[in-house]
């Protein structure tokens, strides 16, 4: 196996709030391999965005009491502001959720791409940067790029803005691209286009992509491996086929069941009962147990935080459930069809 390009170990992120300390991310560990697409799935507030933002130093309110994020041999969390700045937008770039608000309204789109280029390429000429910006816009499929480069964000539609955002993020040939819910704020028709653009961006840069989303369709479409997060912890981790075919955590199973599918004979969608837990006072034991239809209130679920452990013996597949084997026996086949549909 090749060395991971980004390796997160025991990352914990806390926020001080008026009601007490919120542990948004707890002991999160995962690796990102060069060139792969790693899907990070979870509900709002499960810590999926915060974990990525905090390792880039973009979460100023968050404290990181422990953990490390090793990028090409160096711990991002120990870097100086200056070193981090060089990495942000250079080697590691981000695509934000809402393209309507992520572009500066007073600068032209071209200006913003050129700026991204000039920030990381000292001595690059303005004319060169502009040429490159046009190329980039063409890569992401913005028509008549030479003309649109002088336009302002408000003259772009949502989909075009997200394309421009993606062009900006790949401007410096990053080796890690963090896409934070890149399609959430877009129309369904546009989402499909953006998926294609993401693929094009990946082809252009060969970057490893961290795809943060709660859209399982997007995961099925793009991801190679999947990390499922719940209440700040990784609850399941495996390759995309295994996750969809053999989910081994009740939360993942619940996610699959709450998905509307064209191929299954579903009368009703099966939602996960209950609410995501309060992060100020998370439930003891397994954070998912109050909502778990599988635990049935058994003692270990209520008292012990389950370990993230390897399950099965074929593919690398980790889950954080006391009764994963029992779940396997229960013959959950929920994901299989979705996967076929997606690919």
């Amino acid at each position: 196996m090749p060395d991971p390009i980004l390796s997160i170990r025991d990352l914990t992120v806390e926020f001080n709030t008026e009601d007490g300390i919120v542990q948004a991310v707890t002991d999160v560990s995962y690796d990102l391999m060069p060139g792969e697409v790693l899907g990070v799935v979870g509900e709002s507030g499960s810590g999926k965005s915060v974990s990525m933002l905090s390792i880039l130093g973009l979460s100023p309110q968050g404290r990181i009491p422990k953990g490390e994020a090793v990028y090409k041999g160096d711990d991002l969390l120990k870097m100086s502001q200056k070193q981090l700045r060089d990495i942000r937008g250079g080697d590691m770039a981000m695509i934000f959720q809402d393209p309507m608000t992520s572009l500066n309204p007073v600068l032209t789109v071209g200006n913003q791409i050129v700026e991204a280029l000039l920030t990381h390429n000292e001595g690059m000429k303005d004319s060169e940067a502009e040429k490159r910006a046009i190329e980039l816009l063409e890569v992401v499929g913005v028509p008549s790029a030479e003309r649109r480069i002088d336009q302002y964000p408000h003259e772009f539609s949502g989909g075009m803005r997200q394309r421009a955002m993606i062009a900006m993020s790949i401007a410096n040939n990053p080796s890690v691209l963090i896409a934070d819910e890149p399609t959430t704020a877009l129309d369904v028709t546009i989402q499909a286009q953006i998926v294609e653009v993401l693929k094009a961006a990946r082809e252009e840069t060969h970057a490893a992509i961290v795809l943060i989303t709660h859209d399982l369709g997007l995961i099925a479409e793009l991801a190679d491996r999947v990390v499922v997060m719940y209440a700040g912890r990784v609850v399941e981790l495996s390759d995309v086929f295994t996750i969809f075919n053999e989910p081994r955590h009740p939360y993942t199973v619940g996610l699959m069941n709450s998905l509307a599918r064209l191929d299954a004979d579903q009368e009703w969608l099966q939602p996960i009962p209950g609410q995501p837990p309060s992060m100020i006072a998370p439930p003891p034991g397994c954070a998912f147990h109050p909502r778990c239809t599988f635990s049935r209130g058994r003692v270990p679920c209520r008292t012990d935080v389950p370990e993230l452990r390897q399950i099965g013996d074929s593919a690398p597949h980790k889950t954080r459930c006391h009764y994963a084997e029992e779940l396997a026996e229960a013959q959950v086949v929920a994901g299989a069809a979705a996967l076929e549909e997606g690919r």
């Binding site: 880039l56 700045r85 937008g89 770039a93 934000f96 309204p105 920030t119 990381h120 900006m168």
Partner: protein, 363 residues
């Protein structure tokens, strides 16, 4: 409809830049049929109907994509936020008139030496305190020493305006710097800078002004301006801090951070342009305030010292002379009022123009 004039390169080139916008504004490219001359858009003519445009052969050169854009009417003219602001400003009639008047006044002040019929200290001993007259050579009359009052007002205007713009520029610079640093960094920096601002605000303005003017002023316009600026920046600092506090949370600022931009770049390039609206409006208001305060200061004898005229000094000179020498107070007074009014109207217009919530449908 005639053919496009051969060799009509400029138009073809124009099209590259403005592309289809010329059409959507109702300008059929060569439909004026004026071979050899470039059809300069004058008033927007009624839009050429899409059907007609499609049928006409001279549109063959238009790139297909543009044609589609035109048909669907989805290609609005490229306008920056500033372009919209300009359009909105020019709709504000009072502000436009004020701008014209103020520009004229400024021109008079700038070219005072050429405009003024006499020097500000030239004595005409045959015409001491002569009233204003249109027939004689002293339009505004003369003062107690026989100096032409029109010239004195013009030179006084020059001094006052100079001080006002200097104060506005300097206090905006100080206020914006302090406000943006406080708003951007927050926390202890914010606390320190804002408490300092509060401190300046709590100083009894007039007393400090008078004391400072006595000790450092010496009637030098530069020093008077400096003292004023050091007291007037607080308002802008607070406003800029507020704007920066809200801008800091904007996603494009986060995006800029994520793309590796440093603090200076984020403040100067991403946040400051977005805060310019309120800054400009308040700067104009500071100009008005500075003129009034400088006049008051000079009137009290602590500002600009004679023989240098300023509008305030002139009123001071005239105040003891009573009603029969009314022109000594009236003319500089009128000029002060006019300037202050104009600037306030311009400020109003700017506020309306720069406030995005005021934005109407595309004009």
């Amino acid at each position: 409809m005639t053919e496009r004039a051969p060799g009509d390169d400029t138009r073809a080139h124009d099209r590259e830049d403005v592309s289809i916008t010329a059409f959507s504004a109702g300008q059929p490219a060569s439909a004026h049929g004026n071979p050899g001359s470039v059809a300069v858009p004058e008033e927007p003519i009624a839009p050429l109907s899409p059907a007609l445009a499609m049928g006409s052969s001279e549109l063959g050169e238009v790139p297909a994509a543009d044609l589609i854009a035109y048909q669907a009417g989805v290609e609005p003219k490229a306008r920056s936020q500033w372009a919209y602001a300009r359009i909105r400003f020019f709709r504000h009639r009072l502000a436009v008139v004020s701008l014209i008047v103020l520009t004229l006044i400024c021109l008079v002040a700038i070219f005072a030496k050429r405009v003024a019929p006499y020097g500000y200290d030239e004595l005409d001993l045959f015409n001491i305190t002569s009233p204003p007259t249109t027939t004689d050579k002293h339009l505004f009359g003369t003062d107690l020493l026989g100096r032409d009052y029109l010239s004195r007002v013009i030179f006084g205007l020059r001094t006052s305006l100079w001080v006002a713009f200097f104060v506005a520029f300097l206090s905006t610079a100080i206020g914006t710097t302090i406000g943006s640093l406080a708003g951007y960094y927050g926390g202890a920096t914010d606390n320190l800078l804002m408490r300092f601002t509060d401190l300046i605000l709590t100083l009894p303005g007039l007393a400090v002004l008078l004391t400072a003017a006595t000790f450092f002023g010496n009637g030098d316009p530069l020093k008077v301006g400096l003292i004023l600026a050091l007291l007037l920046w607080t308002g802008i600092a607070r406003i800029v801090r507020g704007v920066f506090l809200s801008l800091r949370e904007k996603e494009y600022v986060e995006a800029a951070k994520a793309s590796g931009a440093g603090d200076a770049r984020i403040i100067l390039r991403h946040m400051l342009p977005n805060a310019l609206g309120p800054i400009i409006v308040n700067t104009t208001l500071i100009i008005a305030a500075a003129i009034l305060i400088e006049a008051a200061l000079s009137f009290l004898g602590f500002g600009i010292q004679p023989p240098n005229p300023s509008l305030g000094t002139l009123i001071d000179d005239g105040q003891g002379e009573g009603f029969e020498k009314w022109w000594l107070v009236t003319f500089p007074g009128l000029v002060i009022v006019t300037i202050a009014l104009c600037i306030n109207f311009i400020g109003d217009g700017l506020r309306d123009a720069l406030d995005p919530t005021q934005r109407r449908v595309r004009a």
